[in-house]
């Protein structure tokens, strides 16, 4: 068979992860727009059916459940969590054709659209709704085809797609490292969403590098992860000083 990645949960030196500071995030959406632009994400005239839209990085609006004027809202950008649960992520476990596999050298959970048969099992398995299905063939206005990036392959109908942590940038960074005679493993790069965030709310890097900003922030007392109780071990951490946001990060009784 092909795609027989090392399925053991490697204790490698690199685990790319993200920390999103919800105190700083203003929900502007620049990250999501940059993601769409960078990754050739298709759009349609009507995007108001949120259950059919393609979104690699979705902004959720959290509400504190109180009435005016104690009502407060917060925006939570949610990319793919690139779950690091032992052995398999919820999604990589269920894909029948190995279209989604976690790279144990970087922790990135890949989704190869050209391998994907569109059974949507991974969508069902993912508790974060990180995956979008191409319900329609992608169709860009003719003139807008010019802005498609050759760095990312456009997807067609009938397959699932999701956030890749902009792994094409990782590949480019590795090649640059090779050119410069540096070690291509463990290179640092920046996803599009991180680049775009005007508040600097998103930090990206190697979670296993104790000197990295992302590793430090992941240990911040304000840090939490969505649905910790599921033990999916997501590699996207959030920071918030609001207790009501912490409470909404996971299911809790009462």
């Amino acid at each position: 068979m092909s795609g027989n990645a090392h399925s053991e949960h490697a204790a490698g030196k690199v685990r790319y992860g993200m920390v999103i500071d919800l105190d700083k995030c203003t929900g502007c959406g620049a990250c999501a727009v940059a993601c769409q632009q960078e990754n050739n994400i298709a759009f349609r005239p009507d995007e108001s059916n949120k259950l059919r839209t393609i979104s690699w990085l979705t902004l959720y609006r959290l509400e504190n459940g109180k009435d005016y004027p104690e009502h407060r809202e917060a925006m939570l950008p949610r990319p793919c969590m690139h779950c690091d649960s032992p052995h398999h992520a919820p999604c990589t476990f269920v894909c029948p054709v190995n279209a989604t596999v976690r790279d144990e050298h970087t922790g990135i959970v890949d989704h190869i659209a050209v391998r994907c048969i569109g059974c949507r099992y991974c969508m069902v398995a993912c508790p974060y709704h990180a995956r979008s299905f191409n319900w329609w063939d992608p169709k860009w206005p003719k003139t807008m085809e010019a802005m498609l990036s050759p760095e990312v392959s456009p997807r067609m109908r009938g397959v699932v797609e999701k956030c890749t942590f902009c792994h094409h940038r990782l590949n480019r960074a590795r090649d640059r490292a090779r050119i410069n005679g540096e070690d291509p493993d463990g290179v640092e790069y920046t996803p599009a969403c991180v680049e775009a965030c005007p508040t600097g709310a998103i930090t990206f890097g190697n979670l296993r590098d104790p000197h990295s900003q992302v590793a430090k922030l992941a240990k911040d007392p304000r840090a939490f992860r969505i649905l910790e109780k599921l033990h999916t071990e997501p590699k996207v951490y959030y920071l918030s000083s609001e207790q009501w946001i912490h409470k909404q990060s996971d299911n809790d009784l009462s």
């Binding site: 068979m1 476990f93 029948p96 190995n98 048969i117 059974c119 969508m123 909404q248 009784l253």
Partner: protein, 413 residues
């Protein structure tokens, strides 16, 4: 005009009437095919599926059909495997042919719908080529294929018993030999079916991102594995019995001895009781430990329209009541109650499959997420109904042209 094909000793309705029925079925199937082709050409956007409901009517019907169709294997197992030790099971030979046919219809129909379920049907074969051994769907793909093959093999002897075909000597010899090794296939199919239903039950074991469906450790293997197997066993023969009864009603004949129904009733009653007990414990453990461990209470999993009524319906109305009816001799004696029980039994399994697929997806996992409601479109209903029509077609043709019920002549002198 087709008398030559009709088995000896039995009577069938006039060809025009049958033809009309065929037309109806063909119309439905055509409708379904049209809808299916529309899905294949336009994409799944014509369905009611969405990013929250990755699974929908297709999966639900598939799982339900496969469970109901599992009666073939289980019946085969009972007849070919256990009747040596329990002579009373010999009676099942009176209905075993129908079971095979029903199973064949279910599995092959499921295969067809399966193609509509995936976004890239043309790449469906990747499941065989790039199989992920950890994925339950891989197991499903392989198992369904095997079961379909096994059922075809089991079906062939029945077909070969057609009067015309049987006339052909090599065919006759071949069919006869097939009959001999049917037990082997039956047993094989049974074990495969056990594993298949079980692997369907294993699906929750990998869904640790879905608390409603997730089962862990012991409760995946062997518990949920056996639960799915058991539930299929507990309803499969019942489904076959219902089909048989329907044929009896339509043909206004008695096709099997009443004792067969009663035997099935007892067996199903016991299996359903066992299933209910185990299912109850499974649900208990899930509700007492697994779900709270995820920060969820039982009530968190139920919201209209996916309310508590589903649980009550599945385990109460379609679980306890059939058990009581089936395990009460007096109730078994009443056709109404017996088949009501069978019907509830089968309904329960479909509800269960629905709960484990559509309902499980309706439940928001993230606290700030919302409940979603899934409404299938005609492009989902049509193929499924067409698949049922396809099954009806096969059953109708089989009944008309094949000696499905050995006791039919004697019971309808």
């Amino acid at each position: 005009m087709d008398k030559a094909l009709i088995p000896e000793g039995v009577k069938r309705c006039p060809l025009p009437v049958f033809g009309l029925w065929m037309l109806v079925l063909f119309a439905v199937i055509a409708w379904g095919i049209y809808a299916g082709l529309t899905v294949l050409l336009k994409g799944l956007n014509v369905t009611g599926l969405n990013n929250y409901f990755g699974f929908g009517l297709y999966i639900c019907v598939d799982l339900g059909i496969i469970a109901l169709g599992a009666g073939a294997f289980f019946s085969g197992f009972l007849y070919y495997g256990l009747s040596r030790f329990f002579p009373q099971l010999k009676e099942l030979h009176k209905i075993i042919n129908l079971a095979v046919i029903v199973g064949f219809c279910c599995y092959t129909g499921a295969l067809l719908v399966l193609l509509l379920e995936i976004g890239q049907p043309l790449r469906g074969w990747f499941g065989y080529w790039h199989a992920n051994v950890h994925s339950m769907l891989t197991e499903v793909i392989f198992c369904i294929s095997c079961y379909a093959i096994v059922l075809v093999i089991e079906f062939v002897p029945i077909i070969l018993e057609n009067r015309k075909l049987d006339a052909i000597k090599p065919v006759h010899i071949f069919g006869h030999n097939l009959h001999e090794i049917m037990a082997i296939f039956a047993m094989t199919g049974t074990f495969l079916s056990f594993f298949h239903q079980g692997s369907l039950g294993g699906v929750p074991g990998v869904m640790f991102g879905r608390p409603f469906a997730y089962r862990e450790g012991f409760f995946v293997w062997p518990w949920t594995f056996f639960l799915f197997t058991l539930s299929a066993m507990a309803c499969g023969p019942a489904f076959t019995a219902i089909i048989c009864r329907i044929i009896e009603k339509v043909s206004r004949k008695q096709l099997v001895d009443r004792s067969v129904y009663e035997l099935i009733g007892k067996i199903e009653g016991g299996l359903l009781l066992t299933y209910l007990i185990l299912k109850g414990l499974d649900t208990l453990y899930w509700a007492l430990d697994t779900a709270p461990g995820f920060g969820l209470k039982l009530s968190d999993f139920y919201q209209e329209p996916y309310g508590m009524w589903l649980l009550v319906a599945e385990l109460g109305i379609c679980g306890v009541i059939p058990v009581i009816l089936l395990l009460t001799p007096q109730a078994r004696k009443s056709n109404g109650l017996l088949f009501l029980a069978f019907f509830l039994d089968c309904t329960g399994i479909v509800i269960n499959r629905f709960a484990m697929t559509v309902e499980a997806l309706a439940i928001p996992v993230m606290p700030f997420d919302h409940w979603a409601v899934y409404i299938p479109t005609v492009y989902e209903w049509a193929p499924c109904i067409a698949m049922l029509a396809y099954g009806a077609l096969i059953v109708s043709l089989s009944y008309r042209y094949l000696p499905v019920f050995p006791r039919e002549p004697e019971l309808n002198p």
